[in-house]
């Protein structure tokens, strides 16, 4: 096994990897940009290396600097986390050239799966079902219109190099095509430095269900079942659960999806952890969507239900150990849910809300797992994804897991910035959600139908009481503070002087 591993990432995933490294008595090397000097992953790691200024293009995406740091610190392997360089085939290849183990699949597998059109062709060859779509990069809006003539609207324009909904647009008619094509293409260019698009028939109100895989370098591969990731906002997953309520109700579906996923991965010569994403229609038919050649954000719920540490397994197979797990060793117990806690304002169109965390209370107690990267007094930087933490809970059934998540969210308090905690509580109380009728437009429809929260009448007077008390008893700001005078502070000062 490795003695020292560098984590080419930041935030909660860097912290999560460090935790397993420490449990395995492997030394950890963090990397950080200017914005992250005080970040938790740097505080927790055994060693840390500065890799550049705050913009990720000048730090976390700099292959040369990451490799320099690994060499300088004597790291034998690099864990890429998710995002940043995790699905960059050139990075995987550069690691290999530098004789540093990349904890992930081969550069070749990343390359093959990284092109969505190539991945699709591979899935077709492996006998996995796919959504009807054009197999080649589109030359322009006219090509997409020709596709619509054959398969009809609505259709979906997608970035060839894409992921996470960036560079993706729904198109409902010929008239919308030009604008949608231009927007998707420019967003793809900005996000991935590649403006190429392809087109797919849109499956309406699909579920998004994915299969977790893990294989060793010797051709042995197992699946860890599914995660339901249909709760998305702007095509970004915000809440995931395992098992999927749909799969749980259909005998044999998990096995069928798992086998299809393994077939696709095998055809790419895949090893290490990966996830095959499927769209599932109302009938329960599933279609290959793409393969993510990295550890997923939402992996903790699989860990909670199967009892396996996926990062530990990643490290073992990366160190060329045989995967001793057989498929029949993997069992699923109970139900797990994860909420992605973001620094964003649910009361104001989910606008990002960076800033200093002035107050922080974490949920605790039975069945609660928190993968976070924040602490009181830390300033959430504006330079990166505003994910603060992933709150996951486990319980015996879906119903009790929902109750546990509601309980945990009530204990969770983040002050000084906004977080989307109240939003999750509303979803968890929603009848459609509780009935397990999920699909990828769920959140949009929910936001339309949700009623404004009506607080119990007594809370209003309690709020007034507390505000009054607060105004009277809070010491006025120090004189050196900027002259941000507001009426109530003047009153507070006046009261204090009396």
């Amino acid at each position: 096994m490795f003695r020292k591993v560098l984590i080419a990432n930041r935030g909660e995933i860097a912290v999560r990897v460090i935790r397993t490294l420490r449990e395995m008595q492997i030394a950890s090397v963090a990397v950080f940009s200017d914005a992250d000097r005080a970040s938790l992953h740097v505080r927790m790691a055994d060693e840390a290396a500065w890799v550049g200024p705050s913009p990720s293009a000048e730090s976390y995406l700099r292959i040369d600097r990451i490799l320099d740091a690994a060499r300088h610190h004597g790291a034998e392997a690099i864990h890429p986390g998710y995002g940043f360089l995790s699905e960059n085939a050139d990075f995987a290849a550069a690691c290999e050239e530098a004789a540093i183990v990349f904890i992930g699949p081969s550069a070749e597998s990343i390359r093959r799966m990284g092109s969505k059109t190539a991945a699709r062709q591979m899935a077709i060859a492996a006998g996995a079902p796919v959504v009807p779509g054009a197999h080649e990069t589109l030359g322009g809006p006219a090509d997409a219109r020709a596709f619509a003539q054959q398969f009809g609207y609505p259709l979906l324009l997608k970035a060839v190099a894409g992921g996470g909904g960036k560079g993706m647009r729904r198109v409902d008619s010929d008239a919308e095509m030009d604008a949608a094509f231009r927007d998707a293409s420019s967003e793809a260019e900005r996000s991935f430095k590649n403006p190429d698009l392809y087109v797919e028939k849109l499956i309406q109100r699909p579920r998004h269900i994915e299969i977790q895989l893990l294989g060793d370098r010797h051709g042995h591969m197992v699946h860890f079942g599914e995660r339901e990731c249909s709760i998305q906002r702007r095509h970004q997953k915000v809440m995931e659960e395992c098992p999927s309520p749909l799969v749980a109700a259909r005998p044999g579906m998990r096995e069928a999806m798992g086998e299809a996923a393994i077939r696709v991965a095998r055809s790419a010569g895949y090893y290490n952890a990966g996830t095959v994403e499927f769209l599932v229609d109302a009938r329960g038919d599933f279609y290959f969507l793409e393969m993510n050649t990295r550890l997923q954000v939402e992996h903790p719920i699989t860990e909670l239900v199967t009892g396996h540490d996926l990062v530990r397994l990643q490290l073992e197979v990366a160190a060329d150990e045989d995967l001793r797990l057989r498929q029949e060793d993997i069992t699923w117990r109970g139900s797990a849910i994860e909420c992605r806690i973001y620094a964003e304002d649910p009361y104001n169109n989910f606008f990002p809300s960076p800033g200093k965390i002035t107050r922080l209370t974490h949920p605790e107690g039975p069945g609660v797992r928190l993968d976070g990267c924040v602490y009181e007094g830390w300033t959430v930087p504006i330079d990166y994804d505003p994910l603060l933490a992933k709150l996951a809970v486990w319980n015996g059934t879906r119903e009790t897991a929902i109750a546990r998540m509601l309980r945990a969210l009530r204990e969770y308090d983040v002050g000084g910035i906004h977080a989307n905690i109240a939003f999750f509580r509303q979803i968890l109380e929603d009848e459609e959600f509780r009935a397990g009728r999920l699909h990828t437009d769920f959140v949009d429809e929910f936001l339309e139908r949700r009623k404004p929260l009506t607080p119990p009448p007594e809370l209003e007077s309690i709020a007034a009481l507390v505000a009054d008390f607060h105004a009277k008893h809070t010491a006025p700001r120090a004189e050196s503070a900027p002259p941000q005078r507001s009426q109530w502070r003047d009153i507070g000062r006046h009261e204090a002087l009396r």
Binding site: P354, R359, L453, A467, F469, Q484
Partner: protein
Amino acid sequence: MNPIEAVEPGVYSVLVDGRSYEARVEESDSCVVVFIDGHRFEVEIRDPRRWSRQSGKPVVEGRLNVTAPMPGKIVRLLVVEGDTVESGQGLLVMEAMKMQNEMKAPKAGRVVSISAREGATVAAGDVLAAIE
């Protein structure tokens, strides 16, 4: 016994009629925001002995500026000067923290000025547009 106990900075434990509540207080420029059990209350303090709760956002008369809530980049303008807009209609798209967000009209009216330019970087508080 005082029903309100300051337990942590900005956090108050309230006991009323034998029931226990926890309230968290944040200060904004114009009011005090109180959170109780996921509910949000904006309380305006006018006089220490008098208070009133703002019910929703007040209707603003006259010209209203739309400002950038945080540093970011203007991706696209959705309206031009002189356009009539509905409350909540998208005015422009701003990118911040890797996410694109539509800035919406805070009230119905006419777009009297747009100072934002596509591709421009803006700082928090910069005026992007004005509605009258």
